[in-house]
Amino acid sequence: MRRNDGELILLWTLPVLAVIWVSAFFLFPGFVHPMSPTMTAAQVAAFYRDPAHLSRIRYSMILFNWFSVALIPLLSLLVMQVRRMAHRTPILSYCLLGCTAGGPALFLIADLFWLLAAFQPGREPQLTLMFNDLAWMTFTVGVPFLIGQSLILALAIYIDRPDRPVFPRWVAHFNVLVAAALAPAAFTGLALSGPMAWNGLLPFWVKNIAIAVWIVVMGVMLGRNIYREHAANDAQPAAAAAVPA
């Protein structure tokens, strides 16, 4: 068992996790037709009290609670790639490491608020509304570390050695684009309806699709690099054996 065999195991958890994340996303009835911030307390309470919704809310959020932090191993593999880059100091890998827990931790807090709202659906509707708002806002504006990690990764790639880069340059451009796609979600509080509301085009669809595409693209690029390292490691003992001592 070589050192990066373990990295391959971590990498191949990603397709399994993607299936779980997508399933949990469609299981939660509030995501399929994203809930509007203009819903009244009575409407929000009715959403959580609906027997057809309640189990789906609980099971989807329990799934997210189990597996949302499973993104951290993927981010750690990216930290390992940044460490391979031709940088003078390890500071950009420290920066990336500093971002890894933030995104999943914010999502986990949103998840807790959704589960709290669903725990006692018979509660005073005003309190259900409050937990629902807290959940949606934490979920939607929880982009700071996702923006941070995309821009740090882009910077790391831009200043890598141009002749033998760890990631091709387009991956840096792609990360800048993802950061730009995530940024409008930060300002969702300003709109209760329209394309900037938390159920609107930019903070919901563009943001979540950008996160999904980022995970797929970075997963593929990571896989390419880890398999190359693997092949290089396989070639090394053979090369060493071919050279007489």
Binding site: C95, L97, G102, I109, V141, I152
Partner: protein, 297 residues
Amino acid sequence: MTGASMTGADTTSDGMTGPPAGSPLSRFAWHCRNNPKRELWFAWYATVIFYIIFFVVFFPVTKAEPPPHPWWSDAQVAAWFQQNHHGLLIGFGIIFAVAGMTAPQNALIAYSMRRMSVSRAFAYSYLVMYSLSAVPGLLLLCVVLSVGAMQTGLDPAATHWLFDFAFLSYIGTMGVFLVGSLVWMLAILLDKNRVMPKWFGYLNLCNALTEVVVAPAWIFHTGVLAWNGLISWWVNMVVFGIYTGAFITLLRNLIRREDFGDGPLPDLPSKAAGGNAPHGNTPHGNTGAASLAGTAP
């Protein structure tokens, strides 16, 4: 190998490099491409820019600082949210967009400990603790006050609970800053590489103590120990302001002094240039190191 040659800049016979004469923009572009310390300068500028944004957002834009009164009635709290509706939502929107800039700051401080003659465990502990601190100690306040500001139809009692939640999570998140400051203090006091002056080690202790005196904010609603009180907020803020100003300056000096060796850090280039460096330290493991010391944008 010097950093200059590593990054492909033209070097003179003594290994010195410098930006071309020209517009500030072209000099900036030169530094982005060629400065051997550009990674460290990126983290330092991110720190400075973040604190400027933080100050502007928290004081004039959202008026979350100085904090409003913990003894207010439901109606007064609701009125505060109404008055600051746009300020809160625009200001915290900016914070959500840029709060990732706290990562370069924590990374640079962790780097300062990595450069010291102490275990890497200090740098890693600090990095993890302060990365964690951003969630309860900064972002929760921003999320919760945004909810209070955007949701005008919420019951006044629920709005008041959001208000308490926001300010107590922000002001009452203590342990990560307390222990984090003590970790940095201990690293500085143990360090033999002269990365940070010893007095700054003790200033860390002052910063840590502000996290002790803020604890009564969880108990008192009025007076000097309440969350907006003389001791819990004003003393805390003055010490934090001095502490932040000090470490931003000292981190800048650290980058200017950095020789990418693993021995004691040389003095600032202005002193070293006069040949009077009092300690006469030779950087270890990096023959071209001295030429890097003065490369600052």
